[in-house]
Each structure stands twice: as C-alpha cells, then as structure tokens.
Symmetry: C2
Subunit: 181 residues, 2 copies
Amino acid sequence: MAPGDRIETRVDSAGRLPVCRRRRPDGFWLDDLAEGLTFRIGAYEVTAAEVKDFATRYDPQPFHLDEDAAGDTLFDGLAASGRHTAAITMRLLTSAFPIAAGVIGSAIHLEWPSPTRPGDDLRLEISVGTIAHSTSRPGRGSVTLTYDTINQHGEVWQRTTGRVIAWQRPAAESAAATGGK
Amino acid sequence: MAPGDRIETRVDSAGRLPVCRRRRPDGFWLDDLAEGLTFRIGAYEVTAAEVKDFATRYDPQPFHLDEDAAGDTLFDGLAASGRHTAAITMRLLTSAFPIAAGVIGSAIHLEWPSPTRPGDDLRLEISVGTIAHSTSRPGRGSVTLTYDTINQHGEVWQRTTGRVIAWQRPAAESAAATGGK
C-alpha cells in the first residue's frame, strides 16, 4: 500500500458483521499504515426501532424517542442520538478496520453536522493521518485517524478525529509474512 | 444562583432515572446558567452484563466482551467501551441536568484517562463555562460545559467538553416564574 491508495472494504450489514477475535490475523500493524491511506467501509442500516431503543437507555429525549414529539422540536422528526451515531461508528470501525491488537484510543473529537435518521445506511470514510513512533516504547506508535460517518447519499452525519495505538508487527509474524526471508 | 455556586442534584440509579418529557418544566433556560456554576449528579451503576451487552452491539473487542480474554490485553481485565462511558454520561446528563428544550450539541471532545470497570458507580461533575448569546438568533445562546465522569472513588474515567444550545426563558414563563410581575 502507498500513501493516497484507496481501499474498499465491504462488510455485511449490522447484525452480520463478524465479531472481533482476540487478535485479528488479518489485522493492521503499524507497518501496514501510512499517512494518506484511505478506506471506505460499511454498511450499517439504522432503523427507527434501534434509534428509540438506544435513546431509551442512554439519551431519553423526545426527539430521539417518538416521531410525533420529535416533529415539534429543533430536529423536525425522529433523529438518532449523537452518542448512537458514535456507537455505530465504533461498530463499523472495529469490525472492518482491524488493527491487530485492537482499536484503542484515549481521546476523540466528534462533530455532528446533522443527525442520523432512520433509514440511513451508514458507512465510514477513513483517512490515515500522521504516524508517530514512540521513543519510550519501542515497537509502539500512534496513528491519527479521521473518519467520516456518511449515509447512502454521501451526507456526512459525523466526523471523528482521534489517535489510536498500533504496534509493529512481531518478528515471528514478519518472518511468516515474507515467507521467512 | 451565582457563579461558583455548587448544586448537588441526586437522581436515582440507572434504571429508575426519569425519562425526559417534551419540555422540562423544571429545566434550565439560558437565564438560569452562569459561568462558574458547578453541578454534581448521579449515580449509574455499571454491571459486567451491561458492559458486554453494549460491546456486543457496538464495540465487539475482546477487552470489552470477556473477562478471560481481557486479562490478556492492554486493559488487564474487562473494561467498558469508551463509547459506552460516553452513552452512560449522556444518560446522566439528560436525566439530571435538564435544559428546558433538550440537551443539544454539535461537537464534543472526549478524553478517557482510564476505562470504566464493572462495579463503578458513575456520576458527573459538571462545570458551566463561557456563555455566548447569539447575535443572529435573539433569545438563543450556547453554553460551554465540561463534565467529568467519575466513579465512587472520585476517579475520572472521562472528561467531556462541548457546547450546548440554550434558549432564554419565554416571556410567558418568565411572568409566571416571577408571579406575573
């Protein structure tokens, strides 16, 4: 892979995405990522039932709970909680952007230009930004990722920016990957 | 209320928090908030079952799904997804920090110094920051909030910073609140 490459990764719809294993044999190591790489992954279909279910548990406000009540608010109709969009985004990221030892970050910035709506079929556009190798922890680094959560019409409902941890490929796996050379 | 005031708001544990109504009659209007006010609200007890349930749907990684597998990871034991901590935080905020027309924001910054664990009893420490009155939309403004999600031992598991929309109290309600004077 080279900077600027675009990789299309298609996964199944929501319920059928594969669950992460302890280590993704096909996962990315630090060595596999480079600034400028982009990925497009998806999709996840959002239903009114899931919007209401998430909101009932975590964001019980009328514009997330009930079509009629939502029509009378700033959102002018049922809209998903921003935290719900963030959760679905994480589902897509962990299921289809397999960093070998896990997607682990300690801070993110989230922007919601407009809310997710029932019927949206969400996917992610991921861009790899700067890569920093740790000086205190050899073999470890952090990678800046920006990922837009977009619907089937290309409308951006969430932009996330954050850094994730990545490890260099272990020597044994590197040898295996190059046929032992 | 005056800047620097500290208001203790206690709510019931998770399952028994009241669901938001269309407009909170007891809710905050822009006029009720002032830079420097702080609030402490809670609590929400996090169980291993909920940690795994959320992760199964939205962040299916081994350190969020299974105690044994989690012991073998950077987290050294079962840990809640950061998006789960964010969702619980929103539950606490919307249930016990009642902005009259809803808690609505378009961007947040999240930091997770360390993950939430099963058994944590989460609460929020909210600080009101700058308040900006809209020049283009009279009667409307935005309020910067910083809210720390802490456990029963005072350990901070998440810090959130963001702006929310607030409206000035409608004239009719102002009149009612002051006895029509």
